[in-house]
């Protein structure tokens, strides 16, 4: 990592005094993650350039006892951009090596330290997540002239396109201490939301360097948000190791996808209306014991829990992470025992038969099936309708016809990148009618959200009602599974009354 600071203030050599580093020699400082070197490329009356070179030890990063605080993907990697780019390490180096200058004090040249002087800072390589636009939004409000050059991923494969790495130069007439503070806070923000710190208190320290300028910065919320770290449970740690070995960090990807879907559907507050419509059906049928299959982060559960008529509420999801969030959302730990006992969160998958799901009045299956690969739907149908067999099933899924109404959604794409399919109304009806017929349910359809005359509603809902065995000719057979219907030519009558003695 190379940061150079150049001034044309006269005499330019004052920079040496301000930095408390003499131009005549190369100085080296040991830091927890490697060494920092300060030296000068030039030092004349007209122009002075000081360099801060970080020699990050890539092996040490991985091998440090106990690992680094914060965790994260980049930490476990020897193949790591940390030795080359500006990052939170640079901030640490600025505070440790150039602390006096960062503090704005200079015994010999107090007035220079207190004045704005022409300065430019160049970082040879820094990853800008959010691109050049974000880079400019960060620094231009602070009065910098920004120049940036983006680097290609690999010159041999121009089709791969550009990398996130930029060479950045910032120029302004500014106090040195301010320039350093801006770099100190904003370079880690540029880098990514995944930081690793030498100590946990570094985050606090960094934000405190924002002083009085950060509250006025138009991007202050984003800046603060990028510092938030994610803590992971054991299972999530384990899960992260199962990431497709050839794919990037799954959790980050998932978050992005969920946000994308929410953004697409936001204008309709669709999620609210889905929950509302499901509740309406559950109330209408007088359900008491209900399942929320694919409960996700627990939005429906939260509403169910508020109503005492739902005496037993079970939320099931395949994502341990979603269940953790649901647990927080419901504040399970803090609920009174009588309320808490009404709800249970289960980890499970709808492609596996699950005895825990038997015997419920109703099941909500909101926005779930489109996340299943079509070949797995057959298993899902049996798990839900044959084995769990709730009295009522309320099932929602996107209406693909409506997608054209979403301005932000390119034609032919789906609302969420994990959606394996999105059905038209006709496709959904065909599937639902077939499933209902096969498993002894009656089905009706309801629109969710503002209906468009041509495209229909944004979300489609099917309500399946179990046909009681006495109403249907062979309800009992459906329960046993149609393929196994052949029972053979039994001639046995039920055992005549038999004493249990022998």
């Amino acid at each position: 990592m190379l940061l150079t600071l150049t001034t044309t203030h006269r005499p330019a050599t004052d920079l040496g005094w301000l930095l408390h580093k003499k131009p005549a020699r190369l100085q080296t400082f040991e830091l927890p993650f490697g060494a920092a070197h300060v030296f000068y490329l030039e030092a004349t009356e007209e122009r002075c350039t000081a360099a801060l070179l970080l020699d990050v030890d890539p092996v040490g990063l991985v091998r440090r006892p106990g690992g680094a605080a914060g965790g994260g993907w980049a930490l476990d990697q020897y193949v790591n951009d940390r030795p080359y780019v500006g990052s939170s390490f640079m901030s640490v180096a600025i505070s440790r090596v150039l602390g006096t200058a960062l503090g704005g004090t200079c015994k010999t040249h107090p007035q220079v330290a207190a004045s704005a002087i022409p300065l430019s800072a160049r970082i040879a390589a820094v990853p800008c997540r959010g691109g050049e636009r974000f880079l400019r939004l960060l620094f231009e409000p602070l009065g910098y002239e920004v120049s940036a050059r983006r680097r290609p991923l690999n010159e041999r494969f121009p089709q791969w396109g550009e990398s996130a790495v930029f060479t950045v130069e910032l120029s302004a007439v500014v106090r040195l201490a301010d320039l350093l503070a801006h770099l100190y806070v904003l370079v880690p923000v540029l880098d990514d939301d995944k930081h690793y710190w030498v100590g946990r208190d570094e985050v606090e320290k960094l934000l405190s360097r924002g002083g009085d300028w950060l509250p006025a910065h138009p991007l202050r919320e984003q800046i603060a948000a990028r510092y938030l770290k994610h803590r992971r449970s054991l299972t999530r740690e384990a899960l992260s190791r199962l990431a497709d070995e050839d794919a990037p960090d799954p959790e980050a990807v998932e978050e992005t996808h969920a946000k994308e879907e929410e953004a697409v559907e936001k204008s309709l507050s669709l999620n609210e209306r889905r929950v509302g419509a499901i509740l309406a059906v559950l109330r209408a049928i007088g359900a008491r014991r209900v399942l929320d299959l694919g409960c996700g982060e627990g939005r429906l559960l939260e509403r169910l829990l508020r109503e005492r008529t739902f005496t037993e509420i079970v939320g099931l999801d395949v994502s341990v992470r979603a269940l953790e969030i649901a647990k927080d959302r419901l504040k399970l730990e803090r609920l009174a025992p009588a309320v808490r006992d009404r709800v249970r969160l289960l980890h499970g998958a709808l492609t596996y038969r699950d005895k825990r799901l038997s015997g419920f009045d109703a099941a909500a299956v909101a926005e779930v099936i489109e996340h299943l690969d079509p070949p797995r739907l057959a298993a899902f149908e049996r798990v839900l309708f044959e084995f769990a067999r709730p009295g009522t099933v309320v099932l929602t899924t996107p209406n693909a016809e409506y997608n054209e109404k979403f301005a932000d959604l390119p034609a032919g794409t789906r609302r969420h990148r994990d959606h394996r399919f999105e059905w038209t109304r006709a496709e959904f009806a065909a599937w639902a009618n077939r499933a209902a017929g096969r498993f002894g349910y009656a089905v009706r359809f309801l629109p969710v959200g503002e209906e468009d005359a041509r495209a229909g509603p944004p979300t489609q809902m099917a309500v399946f009602q179990l046909i009681a065995a006495s109403d249907a000719e062979d309800g009992g057979h459906a329960a046993a599974g149609p393929e196994r219907g052949e029972d053979g030519g039994s001639e046995i009558r039920p055992p005549e009354k038999k004493a249990t003695t022998s």
Partner: protein, 864 residues
Amino acid sequence: MNAEPGTLQIPELSLVVLIGASGSGKSLFAKKHFKPTEVLSSDFCRGLVSDDENDQSATNDAFAVLHFVAATRLAAGRLTVVDATNVQLEARKPLVALARRYHALPVAIVLDLPERVCQERNRGRAERGFGPHVVRQQVRQLHRALRGLRREGFRFVYVLESAHEVESAVVQRIPLWTNKTHEHGPFDVIGDIHGCCSELEALLSGLGYRREAAEGTPAAWRHPEGRKAVFLGDLFDRGPRILDTYRLVRDMVRAGSALCLPGNHEAKLARSLGGRNVQITHGLGRTLAELDALPEAEAAALRAEIAEFIDGLVGHYVLDDGKLVVAHAGMREDMQGRGSGKVRDFALYGETTGESDEFGLPVRNDWAADYRGKAMVVYGHTPVPEAEWLNRTINIDTGCVFGGNLTALRYPEQEIVSVPAAATYFEPAKPFLPEGAQAPVLSAQQVQDDVLDIEDVLGKRIVPTRLHRTVSIREENAAAALEVMSRFAVNPKWLIYLPPTMSPCETSAREGFLERPEEAFAYFRDRGIPRVVCERKHMGSRAVLAVCRDEEAARRGFGVTGEEIGACVTRTGRPFFSEGRAAFAEAVLDRLRKAVGAAGLWEDLRSDWFLVDAELLPWSAKAQALLEQQYAAVGAAAGAAMPEVVAALEKAAALGEDAVRLLAKMREREDRARRYVNAYSEYCWPVRSVEDLKVAPFHLLAGASGVYADRNHVWHMETLARICRADPGLLLETPYRVVDVTNEAERVEGVRWWEELTDAGGEGMVVKPYDFIARGSKGLLQPALKCRGKEYLRIIYGPEYDLPGNIERLRSRALAGKRSLALREFALGIEGLERFVRREPLRRVHECVFAVLALESEPVDPRL
């Protein structure tokens, strides 16, 4: 029960309820005759919950604990003794119910000692703070209870009336009649005969039985090798030669060459013979008619004899160390080897749902569909067109009397032998043969396998493997695997194998190297393996390909219809190609299928499907996102930073030695970064069509004819090479060398070959023992070790890993965890395949695959 007086015979699985007033000596008695862990005392339980054995206010809690422990023990099939006064009906009632629930026999042992004795003993015990009225009351209650104990449900009641009787009593445990675990067969289990004696004789002949008289015994059918026939009941009614059938079976049972179980028809016949008024339906009339046709005296004698014969039949048997269970109508796992009226009813009639079908016949509860037991269950009762396995159970009643077949199952061979009926002797109430050509598309097992049960994967799991030992899976790892399996993996019917992780060789001490082949050679040589196979390691992404000859093979072999006929999956079970590139998978599978055909492998290996372990190239085909976000990003960062760093230091070089030294270091860093970019770029090329892909197979894992883990790696290489030569455009033959690791020249040549491969930019090589499965003195050996090249390792350990100062630190790497993981995963992989090839239920295969995935989520250094 004819036992010596003073000998208390109790069944080996019973709930023994001691009954006696305080001070009657129950605890002493229990201590003398039972293991301490078998005895549950109410005093002890009171102490457990309240710290005071005499705290009467803790009695309810104490009994809750006692009942819970008793239930747990009985469920596990363990004899349990309840040491409490039990003089009140309310105390005994739940115990009898408990015994019934777990099909254990309730036994009462009453210590009816004179009140005086009890009072005396209690006086000696200061801690018993209750007055004499308590004991008096207890003795009175006991006497009132005595006569009703049998009616309460106690199947054995022993009353000891004096201190002497208590003192001299002997407890003898007797095995249940169902317990024939010491009989190891081999057996020939024969389905419902219903008087089809001619077919029975033909079947027995075909199985190698001969009718002959042994020394001093009457003539009977016997097997020269001592095999035993097991008749599943329903010998009588409906058919043409009912009494002949009976006599044949009776003679064999008497001669010891057969076991016989009762069917529901025997039960009904017995009631009829006993003079009860039963409906003469379902062919009972034919039995009675045959009897009536006999001379009066003979008929009377035979009636009595048959009644006695049926009375002596035991409902079900547990044979061969518990591995085989036989019963007329089947046997649930929790009832096997137990004795109760319910168990016998189940054996005779099975279970019904209480509903009736359109023919007015009871709808059966499909116990076999829920069966999870370890024992194989062979049964009959309900005629089926064909004997079919489902969850280790098989119904071999193929409806001979209705014009079907008479079927035998040879055990342990698991071979089915059938004789067709000479005629339709009886019309069934509802047709049992499928109408027309409506043969089922999938087998019963395959239909059941459409849905796996969460119970079979979630929570802490313990999987036994043949190759290694039992493998445990932690709960959180199983949870992680569930998420991946259910969200991203292909249909579990295709996913019968996941490849194990592979350990590198020991770390080399050679300067500038982390890995070299010498260490891999030494690993095998030091463990007694003289020859190894070195294979070129391709750098792409792992792919496991299930390739089927045609749709029929996919249906028969994997139970999959209406999908691709084959699958190409990653090492975590995902489809190898994302949705947009599904056509690639189809094309790859299609060409592989044709290549297998052209190489003649379908015929040579007598299989219509194969599972192929391969590397799919280029790396960038699968890993483009990872390449861009990690590898290329690091290269781009280095490319941006290092020239500026070097230029800056060149300007500062005049500042002195430190600057010069730093400049040299940064120049090296710049050079290593460039070499790193070159190293990974080697494994990338654009993929526009399937023509740009390469598949390099290296294991032919399994086919219908078996798991090819019994073939050595040269066989694998050569067999796969035949396929590769059939389509060199797609399939990449893997170069290999056999090296005798005890021969210096061959070792040197092996090392030289590795250097040649890695100098040319190759990843390195994999060293495998000559045999697929190799064992050393401490058990299973690593199935393969990788030796990665110097340049390749930059992608793993970072661009400058080989600089002095870095490489020294990297040498200390702990291989033990990785190696243990590799062995466990290898053993699980082979176990799963063996189960699949044996056509076990999918859940048994899935268990292994799931376990591999769960193990992959264990924390192990990902660079190894």
